[in-house]
Symmetry: C2
């Protein structure tokens, strides 16, 4: 069922809080769109888990978002985009977009050397989805991927500005720094919160791509193209749902979003 | 239903691999007991999640273990022991024990200054369960708790021997080192894998307690007391189940256990 109701919300989901960096970009670029955000905080993180489970989790979330009559869905999670987008797109009547294609496109646009680095979770890197998408766009490109599994807990536990984070950045990215990449994709929605440290480490010769910006552009193109963009002129409404307690999510949300999130509702996602 | 079948297995569960440090101790002290181990690798970690979800997850696991006709259950996870043991004990016809009471008892036996430190997950420390149990045993004791949420990812990502781990140990435990504790409980089943680094940091004036040892003793007392210990003389059988792929679990299990685990079965725990 295609919702021809232009005022219907856009569904955005992630394994937890990281996808808020994408939601923030949608709020900025598409200020008229209503958003229903879901963070799977009961089962976070996804990055160390298997394809089958990530597809199963994502299906439950899409069924939940359908109960909110969303008109389009953004998978604001690199791991779920890398492992589940193809399957979910086929199954769903609602348009579904992920963050990988937008991120890959931005990198291909940017690179001169055609050597692109990608950092992400274990599952994202192991899937080689970024490589596949990038070389489809630019057959001469070569892609170096590196999983950085400690980045998410470092961000979540408030170590983004602690000096051990610099040491762990060096530990993971030393080889990539000494390669000839000129562009690097932050292939996990938590990583933009380490962006300044990573930029500092690489210096100004490497361009750092955050797929959130292009993802919001893709969403806009999709909605305008299908004549589904919200032109009601009403103030946008944002709803937040999580599968674990709201407390920690709220704290994090309020540090990422440009306004204070007051109400966050907890649901049992396993029921969907 | 009490299983009077002495050869029935003992169920042991954890949010993931950490509980294998407890299973290892049971294998050592009770070599005749069959074990069914379950690691909830699809929803790991528990330490940052809420009481309600941890109770719900634990209930599903107990229902699964009941299908394996276990005669007793060991919650080899501090977080689930701290938040769910009381409820689960009431609901279950099978005896259920956790790791908190054994760990607390060992610490109370050990301490001279009656000042005890406890390190654990966010959820374990916030629950104050160790404090409650310790002061019930020794009303004069005082307990200092400290959540160390990065310890689990550091262990899981293979950083146990990396020097950043020492810095993070110092970051979390500096205050505790300068307190007057003489005994500290490793209140998370992953932490024994950092034991030598933590012992080095504290020096020999602080006794480090790993509850796994006392938990296996408690299990033995329970089984002997209820005339349920396995005296068949047959070689013990160990079965392993997980809720996500077996691959990573297997690697970890083989580094913790004294023998190679060949077969690990994946189940969908949400169906229980």
């Amino acid at each position: 069922m295609i919702h021809k109701d232009r005022t219907a919300p856009v569904g955005v989901f992630d394994s937890g809080v990281g996808g808020l960096t994408v939601a923030r970009e949608i709020m900025r670029q598409l200020p008229d769109e209503n958003i229903v955000y879901f963070g799977d905080t009961a089962r976070v993180p996804y990055g160390s888990k298997s394809k089958n489970n990530i597809i199963r989790f994502s299906r439950q979330i899409i069924r939940f978002l359908e109960t909110k009559s969303v008109k389009a869905i953004v998978i604001a999670c690199n791991t779920a985009s890398a492992l589940a987008l193809d399957v979910l797109k086929e199954e769903s009547d609602i348009p579904v977009i992920g963050v990988i294609t937008p991120g890959a496109r931005a990198a291909v646009k940017e690179t001169r050397s055609k050597k692109i680095g990608v950092v992400g979770t274990e599952a994202t890197i192991r899937s080689h989805t970024y490589s596949k998408v990038i070389t489809e766009m630019e057959p001469e490109a070569s892609v170096i991927g590196k999983p950085c599994p400690l980045f998410v807990p470092l961000v979540e536990e408030g170590f983004a500005k602690h000096h051990v984070t610099d040491e762990i950045i060096e530990y993971y990215l030393k080889e990539m720094k000494h390669s000839d990449i000129d562009t690097m994709i932050l292939g996990c929605t938590h990583y933009p919160l380490l962006r300044s440290r990573i930029m500092e480490y690489f210096g100004k010769d490497v361009h750092i791509v955050n797929p959130a910006y292009e993802t919001a552009m893709d969403l806009k193109a999709l909605l305008v193209g299908q004549d589904m963009d919200n032109d009601s002129g009403n103030l946008a409404r944002y709803e937040f749902y999580v599968s674990d307690t709201a407390e920690k999510f709220k704290h994090f949300a309020n540090s990422i979003l440009p306004y204070n999130v007051e109400t966050i509702q907890q649901i049992n996602i396993e029921e969907y």
